[in-house]
């Protein structure tokens, strides 16, 4: 085995290790965090009123929050459009990517292919808008930290490398799929020798590792927001606070 092959094998090993590490960090980190939210008590009903009066109403409110961002629509129409397109593109891109790690590819994914192909082209527009907005608006710039820019740049870089792999510096799809299915079936094989694909893959790994520690937690955390996931029935039946502290009342009487 020559030196180049040895280095490549070493690199492939590291890449495979990174893939498993990032998958573990993402799944374990997100699960633990959401479980923490789940088990942290809600002492008082702080539902935003007027709110839904029954459980189906709450489900509808939460589904609306996750799918169409009604509060944001009231707040800022341009931001709403940018944010909604951003998330819609991410969803479509994610659905489309399932054809790389599902075998056989589900009908739905094939059906969506026609639309989701454009999501990749569209994505940079809302992403760059959000980035521009962070810098152009003094108020938003004031609250923006490094990670707020970092995440947008990371996602844009992932999208850019993804588009390159798909359209310009094309990777051989069979190799890509063999690599991904190898990882998923715990029988890893070497990745395709394709620098842009490898860059794309590493960036995704970084995103997965960072996800559970960052503001990206809004992806699951939104369902645990007490103002939005409670029924507006604070008066009846009695709501119980699991840690309702005893207080001494004897003084001053």
């Amino acid at each position: 085995m020559n030196d180049a092959a040895m280095i490549w094998n070493l690199f492939a090993g590291v890449l495979i290790g990174l893939a498993y590490l990032s998958a573990f960090a993402f799944v374990a980190g997100l699960t633990l965090r959401l479980f923490l939210y789940f088990k942290t008590p809600v002492p008082l009903k702080i539902v935003q009123t007027p709110g839904p009066k029954n459980a189906p109403g709450v489900l509808a409110r939460m589904a609306g929050d996750a799918l169409i961002f009604p509060n944001l629509f009231q707040a800022d129409k341009a931001l709403w459009l940018g944010a909604w397109l951003f998330h819609a593109c991410l969803l479509l891109i994610f659905v489309r990517h399932s054809r790389y790690f599902l075998y056989p590819v589900p009908e739905l994914v094939i059906d969506w292919q026609a639309i989701s192909i454009y999501a990749g082209f569209l994505f940079p527009i809302p992403a760059l808008y959000l980035l521009w907005r962070r810098m152009a608006s003094a108020r938003v710039l004031f609250v923006s930290g490094l990670p707020d820019f970092g995440v947008l740049i990371l996602l844009t870089a992932i999208a850019a490398t993804g588009m390159l792999v798909n359209y310009y510096a094309r990777a051989y799809l069979v190799d890509v799929k063999a690599f991904i299915l190898g990882l998923l079936t715990l029988t890893p094989v070497a990745p395709p020798q394709h620098p842009v694909f490898i860059a794309h893959f590493i960036l995704v790994c970084l995103l997965l590792i960072y996800f559970p520690f960052s503001k990206l937690l809004h992806a699951g955390g939104i369902f645990f927001s007490p103002t939005r996931n409670q029924i507006d029935n604070v008066l009846y039946p009695r709501y119980v606070n699991p840690w309702n502290e005893e207080v001494r009342i004897d003084q001053n009487r």
Partner: protein, 482 residues
């Protein structure tokens, strides 16, 4: 101080459009309201409300421990500190940012004052990624003490947040942490201490309360010729009415309206000199005191053997009242439904035709309605007060749609800010409400909240809006035929 007297900038133009009130957003002006802080608490008040009388030793560590404790107790706090995307949708929704231009009054920035401490101790990865993080120190404490007492906990920002992040939860947590290390404001602690000593926020002694009630009985006699009673401490009455103590002292028209209401219904009622306060400043301080203040009402109800407790026209009283069942319940020794707000009670009776009403009695005024933040956005009472106004007035006009109902602007003095040293903040924060009111041309602003009733007349005077501020029941009182 000249700068402070001038905010918000006079160049901003407020006008009514067909989409609502055009709300101009001021340019950012860093530290504009930084010099405006509340007077610090006094040791005797802190002692009376079971808080440290001075800064505790190792207060930095103690504060972080308290933060950790609260993170384990409040899901809202934990989730909201984590998930904010810093999108800034809330930035121009807070009346205190609109009024002062101080960026730390943007809800997201206000929350970040706590978030940066949270990140420093509990989010190492975010620190590593370069997010702003800072240890709890004197400088941070000063920022907290300033800006968490320039928030009225009105929750307007949460209505515009894609995740419903409630900055009030964060403000409350910060105040609870500060209280635990012996840092609080004179106004809030003094008021809670007065409740324990005298039974009410204003510190009216029992005998003076009775005196005032007798005086109001004489007033009612002179006005109506009837013997309308203002009972105090009457065991066995049907209803215990807990109104804001200001109704007994300042908003006497509202108090007399309660008297007429029960007289017309023939319902026996009473107030209590042990718990003659609906308002609960514990809500602005910590859980313990909120619970303790609230408990007095149920103790009084038991002692007076009443069948029902009805809360009077007060905003944060209602926000605390809806927690009564959770804090000190079960309330099953009372007749359901409970708790009850007087507007629910009255609106229901009006609908059932319990009163003879002459609407023309209110024809001399054009009425508009201010939704108190706590009644509308935390207490779900939107229709009842409006139903009352429609049933008692011919001339009713709503303020622009983006300033009412769940999008209502706070009067600018809720959350323990109704204190003189914050006057510039209060006037700046009241500006949106003043402009919305001006846009209607109304001559009477009805609102069921004692804080609003104390704050809004000053706001309207300051911004030259010619409108009288009063209760919702005052209108019923004028129109009711006895």
């Amino acid at each position: 101080m000249t700068k402070i007297a001038n905010f918000p900038p006079a160049t901003l133009e407020w006008k009514k459009t067909n989409r609502g009130l055009h709300i101009p957003v001021p340019e950012m002006d860093e530290h504009a309201s930084a010099p405006l802080t509340c007077y610090p608490c006094k040791a005797k008040d802190m002692q009376a409300i079971a808080l440290p009388t001075a800064r505790v030793p190792q207060w930095e560590t103690r504060a972080v421990e308290k933060l950790q404790e609260l993170l384990h107790k409040y899901r809202g706090l934990q989730v909201y500190l984590d998930i904010c995307a810093q999108c800034g949708a809330c930035a121009d929704k807070c009346q205190f940012y609109l009024g002062t231009g101080d960026p730390n009054n943007m809800p997201v920035a206000r929350a970040n004052l706590l978030r940066k401490v949270y990140r420093y101790y509990f989010k190492r990865m975010e620190r590593f990624a370069g997010a702003e993080a800072e240890p709890f120190n004197e400088e941070v404490l000063r920022e907290w003490y300033t800006y968490f007492y320039q928030c009225s906990e009105c929750r307007r920002c949460s209505v515009f947040c894609p995740y419903g992040i409630d900055t009030a939860e964060i403000t409350m947590a910060a105040r609870e942490i500060m209280a635990a290390i012996g840092v609080a404001t004179k106004y809030v602690t003094e008021v809670v201490a007065k409740v324990y000593e005298r039974g009410n926020n204003l510190g009216i002694p029992g005998p003076a309360w009775i005196d005032n009630c007798q005086f109001l009985e004489e007033e009612l006699k002179a006005e109506t010729g009837k013997d309308i009673r203002m009972p105090v401490d009457e065991v066995g009455a049907d209803v215990l009415l807990v109104m804001p103590s200001a109704d007994n002292f300042a908003n006497t028209d509202t108090m007399m309206a309660y008297g007429k209401l029960f007289y017309a219904l023939g319902v026996s009622w009473t107030t209590s000199t042990y718990a003659n306060e609906g308002g609960n400043f514990g809500l602005f301080l910590n859980y313990q005191n909120m619970k303790k203040v609230n408990r007095r009402i149920l103790d009084a109800a038991r002692e007076l053997k009443v069948k029902r407790v009805i809360w009077g026209e007060c905003g944060h009283a209602w926000r605390a009242a809806i927690y009564t069942n959770t804090l000190n319940g079960p309330m099953d020794f009372l007749d359901p439904p409970h708790p009850v707000h007087i507007c629910q009670f009255t609106a229901d009776l009006i609908q059932r035709g319990a009163f003879k009403i002459d609407k023309t009695a209110n024809d001399d005024v054009l009425v508009t309605y201010h939704d108190p933040c706590n009644v509308a956005r935390a207490g779900s009472l939107l229709e009842e007060p409006r139903a009352m106004i429609r049933a008692t007035c011919n001339k009713f006009v709503e303020m622009p749609a983006n300033t009412i109902r769940e999008k209502t602007f706070c009067c600018g003095a809720g959350g323990g800010l109704l204190t003189d040293e914050l006057m510039p903040i209060r006037m700046a924060g009241g500006k949106p409400r003043a402009e919305a009111c001006r846009a209607t041309g109304a001559t009477y602003l009805a609102t069921p909240c004692a804080i609003c009733k104390a704050q809004l007349p000053e706001v309207m005077k300051h911004w030259n809006v010619g409108v009288k501020v009063g209760g919702v029941h005052d209108l019923l009182s004028k129109a009711m035929i006895l």
